[in-house]
Subunit: 309 residues, 2 copies
């Protein structure tokens, strides 16, 4: 028998996304356990959410108190667990009192889901990124400027005086996946790698001639057939065309600004290379999951959070 004193958690932080769910079990603001599960919103019936929390957290929950669980992300979408209506920009990232409560059968925990942000003109939405932005603002106190959050749907966000002023989403990452995995190009594109020189010249090509995008993309297939274009070069060019088109469209966000790019993966690096090639100053010193956790911690605020009900 294990003689170690059992550690129950004070609260749990959760980033519940479209395709997976990440959580951090917290004790006195320290992470005592964390995990990433494949139970994303897109694969879940409403009835599953509570069961997943019970399965994952069972041994950490103190049976004699009601432990708060704070969730950001797609669990709050209309088709998620319970809808947490969007806040409208301009506004600060959400606070704890703006979260919606979810009635659970298990009396050991209480669940709070944070709202996302929406913008009316041009119409746009985010869920989860608002919490990462809160985390970035924690780490870079009084940050004023532009944040780029690369991903399936890359977001450009203008921050001023602690508020999200405006934002714009580009479907660049999803277009890259669709074109490289499901289109006629699928045998012409390598699975990974980025040749910086080819990538930068492809960005230039598209920035100087946006309108040729759909022809340039087919050209990769044609060159792979009649000019033996390598799959690795084709990948760097496809990345360059897509990010080049996005950099053209997001110019109003980055021109003359220092841009904070969230993330440490190859996509974030590609955005850094692309922005630097346009003469933009870049800060990139935070993992996206660190930003989620920092944001959830700041919103929860141990002293206040323990009193939620």
């Amino acid at each position: 028998m294990n003689n170690k004193k059992k550690t129950y958690c004070d609260w749990v932080a959760v980033d519940w996304g479209t395709s997976n769910m990440r959580y951090w079990v917290m004790h006195s603001n320290e992470v005592i356990h964390s995990s990433r599960t494949p139970f994303g919103m897109v694969n879940l019936d409403r009835a599953c959410y509570e069961n997943i929390l019970v399965d994952e957290l069972d041994t950490f929950l103190n049976p004699s108190i009601c432990t708060p669980i704070l969730i950001c992300g797609m669990a709050g979408a209309r088709q998620g667990w319970k809808e947490a209506p969007y806040k409208s920009v301009p506004c600060k990232p959400p606070e704890l009192h703006e979260a919606v409560s979810v009635k659970c059968k298990d009396s050991r925990f209480i669940v709070k889901i944070l709202p996302g942000l929406k913008q009316n003109r041009p119409a746009d939405i985010m869920r989860g990124e608002e919490t990462q932005i809160k985390g970035i603002l924690e780490k870079h106190d009084r940050f004023d400027g532009v944040v780029c959050l690369p991903g399936t749907h890359t977001k450009w966000v203008r921050i001023s005086a602690g508020e999200v002023v405006s934002f714009q989403t580009f479907m660049t990452g999803e277009l890259f996946s669709l074109l490289s995995e499901k289109s006629v190009l699928k045998h012409s594109i390598a699975k990974e790698g980025l040749d910086e020189k080819i990538f930068k010249s492809s960005i230039e090509e598209i920035i100087s001639n946006n309108k040729i995008f759909a022809a340039k993309v087919f050209g990769l297939r044609a060159e792979s057939i009649i000019k033996s274009l390598s799959v690795s070069d084709a990948r760097s060019r496809l990345s360059g065309y897509l990010i080049g088109l996005e950099l053209s469209g997001s110019r109003a966000y980055w021109l003359g600004e220092t841009v904070f790019i969230l993330g440490e993966d190859s996509i974030s690096l590609a955005y850094e290379i692309g922005l630097r090639s346009q003469g933009v100053e870049v800060i990139r010193d935070l993992l996206d999951m660190e930003a989620s956790l920092e944001g959830l911690k700041a919103i929860f605020n141990l002293k206040n959070g323990m009193n939620i009900s």
Copy 2:
């Protein structure tokens, strides 16, 4: 017992595409039977092609002679039945003597596969459309100008003095399928329909601001969530954004020209509406499969074709 005299065919015309195969059984240049099968190149092993012809044509083949079968399209690709190397533009559509012969086990027929066309700069390729172009040139004698062949990979082709001078392929149709069926938009886009007014204004939006394409596309999702954009309006807008981007990129082809658009389906109609909205004169009076058959008939040329071996 059937007393009707059995009609054997003189030759067979085949358009063997990526996802299906269409053929016409010919007697004295009249079609005595035709069919469309789902046996496209993409689903076939090399060994299957001959068996499919035997299954489909068995009762029409005269056992005492060797019937010519003329094929255009993807059967001639490297990954098809037998590679028919591309002709380089500028050039006329292929002639019968340029087709490659395929050795068959069945002695009742001989197979000839026509080459496609390639262009070195910018790199581009076509297989099948060159035969449709031949058909258009048969129907519109001395046609000089621009042909648009809408489809998964829409082609713009400049024709002069019976030659293909240059061409450019846009992945517009494939992007539409990927975005409307496999992306985050899949629940936001209707299966069919086109509102002409919305379509035309979306074309204008993108033509006047190409670079915002990937943000406009995500905007459809955002508007469907926060502004209850209808699936039918979203479809018209997605069509407009994609065709608008293509019309921007293909302007050098259509500006100041009369454009021949091939096809009678809803995609061809959308291109017609789009081009007319830009003040372009359009001719559209031929089905794409009619063009394939007319092209194959013209290339085969009954008098010459019967002597191929």
